[in-house]
Subunit: 420 residues, 2 copies
């Protein structure tokens, strides 16, 4: 048998686990104070749902689970999909939409969901990127108003602040602005998806790179130049001023109310926010997933290049299950990134008070053992953490390990105290 | 797309989720006070490990995950196993043993692990039995003494008591007693596995049923009668008296020290235990898994036929990974059974203080919205839970739902209060 975890997945050692549990506790407590209700969905979803075109590139990375019990005939199986009937979820948004579609009659309306759990993507394993990782999502279903975006941003920013991040940005944009920009530039509607994918790389490959990519896809240089030129009108402006300037430039191409809605989110977040973060309008912000229909946002912390969380409005996904669209908006914290930043900072969990370790000589009489057990029980009853351990040969190593793990009070029990 | 969860798995609705989170909190807090350290392993394990003969019947129930990215040739694939390289774990003991084998140099010695997470078995779906379910395990690795069994029993019984169970039994036996009984009866050693499987059904099929099953497997009626007759020597006895009587009857067939060790566990648990439970010696207790090497135990609550948790010593599993045996002992709480018993009792989580819901008229001016957001922020800052919701058409339904979810303070904000 093989003692290593499967390729790309990993065992969580105690020190990291302590940080994870602590951070999850802060996130949970914050979201609960905002009235979010925890739910859970299976880690396994049907292949039909996982390949339903809601997952974009992630649908290429599905771990597929084989049909069981003579349900397929290997000699006749033509493709991978004939052999698999389910797979591991690649995110929490798709399962939540399915959940709401299935259970909405039993759920409060609007429904504020908190979901925390592992998701799976068969990416090429590389440093800091794993095939099993946690997501922490909050979503509001059944409410079309910008109270959703506002509360999601306030709650997530508060959670991220409590974890210890300062001076971070929450970038915000609206999918309808992206579309209007493409429209006024005369880019073909069927190419919007490609345009957004290219634009998403603007900070990495620059206007030149984006142009090259779009021209290679058959767009004219003029249209692309006109498109990228649109960003000039917000130059030197920020926040609601930038939104207003861009809206004026886009005029009728922009869906009515889009700019006003976005500007109001700015005002509302400003009115209620605590913490040292800034809401930033960024017309180049795309967010990868194709399912977004309105505002999109992401968190950027100073010390980390890419985002540590993001989300947006996706009013059409629940409709894929029940044929009727349902307003939906969510914000996901990139939990693993947060944890790896904390680990790099050398973060450790605040100490939880004095902990006692009682070490018992290996060959101890039942009477002495019973005495130690009673001592431990009494201490635990008073609220203390007490570890009872049998002494190992290398007692010095054992005690060092205990001290590292916060056991400041170490007691040793010998049959004959003179042996100590 | 399909709005239902995959066959045999389920979505957890808010009410049950609240109970689950609450119970997990009690379990975690109890185990932490005993010095157990939380760890996590991937839900995916290699096929090699999952089919390594440590899982007994569970190995027939594995969800297998297909190899990815052109790693197999369907036209040549001869069997299911040619197509799968990994699968979903069927328990937490195998991954923990692998974990300890891989990381023991970085872990305290002895190592006290707490692991909570989902496991997967492709059983025929039926009421109350799911294909994805949670286990909560504590294990002590690296300590050969009965301090392990004692602490595992004390900690688990305390957790189960805190959840609200009274007058439950913890049944205990030792695999070496089972073996010695089979030995003195002249049953063939290669049949011990079958003997134990049959004995495990004693309370369901009676001595007649067990006899029938074993005779059908080729054992003589005399040997089986002699085997079952051994239980007569403990008739009317209990606890350490029963252990002593049986040990005397088994004499040299029993590994030296087995009875003394078991009796000492009785004395130690009695010395330190709180809560209203009883430790019961039950020489018919088997526990299904083949990997147990010493004491085995399980929890039985009055209102539930089968066990709600169990465990035992398995000193040989880590050795399957690293070639060197390591003392190991664990106790697993059957979390789903606990939750379903609580649900049947109508249990709900203790209220967490007053919660406020603020309902906003759908078309509210930004100024009024901002005011409500500030009010919510101030209340949350003082430690309160505040839900901000947009009013829906059926306001009465919305408020009923909120009350059901513990929102006793419901405030409504209208643009013009005369509209209320």
């Amino acid at each position: 048998m093989n003692k290593n975890p499967v390729n790309g997945m990993r065992d969580i050692l105690p020190r990291e686990m302590r940080i994870r549990t602590y951070v999850l506790g802060l996130i949970r407590d914050t979201y609960r104070a905002y009235g979010f209700t925890e739910v859970e969905t299976p880690v396994v979803e049907s292949i039909e749902n996982l390949t339903g075109k809601q997952g974009g590139e992630n649908e290429k990375l599905i771990f597929k689970i084989m049909k069981r019990g003579g349900k397929f005939d290997l000699s006749k199986a033509a493709t991978e999909n004939d052999l698999a009937d389910s797979g591991l979820r690649y995110d929490l948004t798709l399962p939540l939409s399915r959940y709401y579609a299935a259970h909405q009659a039993e759920l409060p309306k609007p429904f504020k969901a908190l979901q925390i759990g592992p998701v799976f993507r068969a990416e090429r394993p590389q440093k800091g990127r794993f095939r099993e990782f946690y997501q922490c999502d909050i979503d509001i279903l059944g409410d079309p108003t910008n109270l959703c975006e506002t509360e999601l941003i306030l709650a997530t920013a508060e959670a991220v602040s409590k974890i210890g991040f300062r001076d971070f940005n929450i970038r915000i944009n609206d999918r309808r602005i992206l579309k209007a920009m493409a429209r006024v530039s005369g880019l073909p509607e069927e190419a919007y998806g490609d345009v957004f994918i290219a634009l998403d790389k603007l900070d990495k490959i620059g206007t030149e790179g984006v142009t090259k990519e779009l021209v290679a896809l058959g767009m004219t240089e003029e249209a692309v130049a006109s498109y990228l030129g649109l960003f000039d009108c917000v130059s030197g402006l920020s926040g609601t001023d930038a939104i207003a300037a861009l809206a004026e430039r886009l005029a009728d191409a922009l869906e009515p109310g889009t700019a006003e809605n976005l500007a109001e989110i700015f005002d509302l977040v400003s009115a209620a926010k605590g913490g040292s973060y800034t809401l930033v309008f960024d017309p180049t912000l795309v967010r990868g997933m194709g399912y977004y229909t309105g505002p999109v946002f992401e968190i950027q912390v100073p010390e980390f290049g890419s985002s540590v969380g993001g989300g947006g409005r996706y009013d059409e996904m629940v409709g894929r299950f029940i044929g009727q669209n349902t307003p939906a908006c969510g914000f996901s914290i990139g939990f693993e990134r947060i944890i790896s930043i904390l680990a790099e900072r050398g973060f450790d969990v605040p100490s939880g008070g004095e902990k006692t370790a009682i070490l018992l000589e290996k060959k101890l009489s039942p009477a002495k053992k019973a005495e130690a057990l009673r001592e431990a029980a009494a201490l635990r009853a008073s609220g203390k953490t007490v570890l009872l351990d049998t002494m190992i040969k290398n007692r010095r190593f054992q005690k060092e390990q205990l001290q590292e793990n916060g056991y400041t009070d170490i007691r040793e029990i010998y049959e004959n105290p003179l042996n100590a």
